[in-house]
């Protein structure tokens, strides 16, 4: 190894696909607004906001972190108290760790993200899954939460400590009846956590209308922010437990390990917020685009799985025809990624042909037409 060369190559890191049409659900909603790009330059130096800190990140008045965290964010989420975390996964862990005890049960929908499972395992919880319906919809039936709660009660003599719903799930983009899950949970006095990583920042949502006790969101996935960053909202009654202070450092919140997102992540999140508010107003158009895209793909014999008509930009497809082509092509499963990339399109994972997910979020109709045309050419 030539070490000098190896070091030099780190100097000029280009992002090759920056100008391509990006269908990656992880990235579509995280694309920075022009204001956030400016903030990236302005606040990119390490813990840049800490110059102004008297001990707690969320208390910083200039730049206006306090206003954002304590005034705007709770109002935006429709919840009493909010904090910034280092991602939705951290928010889930914080809630589980503060209100559950090891060996407690948590009820989780089968469509949950892997980090929901990992967070529960890290806390030492037992997981009871609410299964989805079968192929092709994979829907979560809220009434199955009752069944799951009753089963845990029967098996252990105790109620689960928490219920969680993924809204929507990160595969099929299904939006289950969250209000009903909240109602069922509260009938048993079980707190309810809503994972809104693909909702908060993309579409209108009010935690109060749903009546969830906790909500988590993702800044880098859905709030046009540099990552990792997330948000956590909670009802006032949980504030003292979840945001309890350290015995040793009186103002530091233990579950947040003192401070969370410092520097560029929080500043891009804040800088993008006005843009995020504006784009949420166009949610109906986003849903219409996703539905149009799904219909066009189905005309090509590429089947959309999950709910129909679809209510979210995250779409999952099954493509037997592309899979058949991949069997004959020397590039095997990588042919689709390669062919799309040649046409200026990225975001579908390399190697996938038979099943893949994508998002149409923030991509205008002309560009979506270009994607459909690319699929037409590839199938031909």
């Amino acid at each position: 190894m030539n070490t000098s060369y190896e070091i030099r190559k780190f100097k000029d890191l280009k992002r090759e696909h920056k100008k391509y049409i990006n269908l990656d659900p992880l990235q579509c909603g995280g694309t920075l607004s022009p204001e956030a790009k400016k903030a990236l330059q302005e606040w990119g130096d390490g813990y840049s906001v800490c110059d102004f800190c008297a001990g707690r990140l969320d208390e910083i008045r200039s730049p206006p972190i306090f206003d954002f965290v304590h005034e705007i964010l709770p109002e935006f989420l429709g919840i009493d108290v909010a904090r910034v975390t280092e991602g939705a996964r951290e928010g889930k862990f914080i809630v589980m760790h503060s209100i559950c005890k090891p060996n407690d049960y948590i009820i989780i929908d089968k469509n949950a993200h892997y980090t929901t499972y990992a967070a529960a395992e890290r806390v030492g919880l037992n997981i009871k899954e609410v299964l989805s319906s079968d192929y092709p919809e994979f829907k979560i039936n809220p009434d199955d939460y009752t069944k799951a709660i009753e089963e845990v009660k029967k098996e252990t003599g105790k109620l689960p400590a928490l219920t969680l719903l993924t809204y929507p799930d990160g595969n099929y983009g299904n939006l289950p009846d969250a209000k009903k899950v909240a109602k069922i949970s509260h009938e048993y006095n079980i707190p309810f956590l809503l994972n809104g990583a693909y909702v908060v920042g993309r579409m209108p949502i009010s935690a109060k209308d749903i009546n969830c006790d906790f909500i988590v969101g993702s800044g880098h996935k859905s709030m046009a922010s540099a990552g990792p960053i997330g948000i956590l909202g909670m009802k006032k009654e949980y504030e003292d437990v979840v945001l309890r202070k350290s015995k040793y450092f009186k103002i530091k919140e233990v579950e947040l390990l003192g401070c969370t997102a410092r520097g560029v992540t929080i500043m891009t999140l804040i800088a993008s917020f006005p843009y995020v508010v504006e784009r949420i107003k166009k949610w109906e158009k986003e849903v219409n685009n996703a539905r149009w895209f799904s219909e066009e793909m189905e005309k090509l014999d590429i089947k959309q799985l999950g709910e129909k008509p679809h209510n979210h930009d995250l779409l999952f497809f099954e493509a037997e025809n592309l899979y058949k082509i991949s069997q004959k092509d020397k590039r095997k499963g990588y042919f689709l990624y390669d062919e799309l990339k040649k046409r200026g399109i990225v975001g579908i994972k390399p190697g996938l042909t038979k099943h893949f997910k994508l998002s149409t979020y923030g991509i205008d109709k002309t560009k979506l037409e270009k994607v459909i045309l690319a699929f037409k050419e590839i199938i031909r």
Partner: protein, 76 residues
């Protein structure tokens, strides 16, 4: 012009929508669908969905705070 807004007190975009109407001096009737079940059912029947805000302008329905559509319907 008859303007009716179906909303809930905790909805962020309902608040923005009402501010927008006030700024443009548009008089409107406000219905809280969280408390008024009859109005909630009326809204669902008219729109086929449960999301708020919903604005009815002389019988024309606008779901969400869609500023472009609102400006057009209100002739702003």
């Amino acid at each position: 012009m008859k303007v009716k807004v179906y909303s809930t007190p905790s909805c962020f975009f309902c608040k923005l929508l009402k501010e927008f109407l006030k700024e443009n001096k548009i008089k409107f009737e406000e219905v809280n669908v969280q408390e008024d079940q009859e109005a909630a059912m009326e809204m669902i029947q008219k729109t086929g969905q449960t999301g708020v805000p919903v604005t009815e302008i002389d019988g024309k329905i606008i779901i969400g705070f869609d500023e472009e559509k609102l400006r057009e319907a209100l002739k702003l």
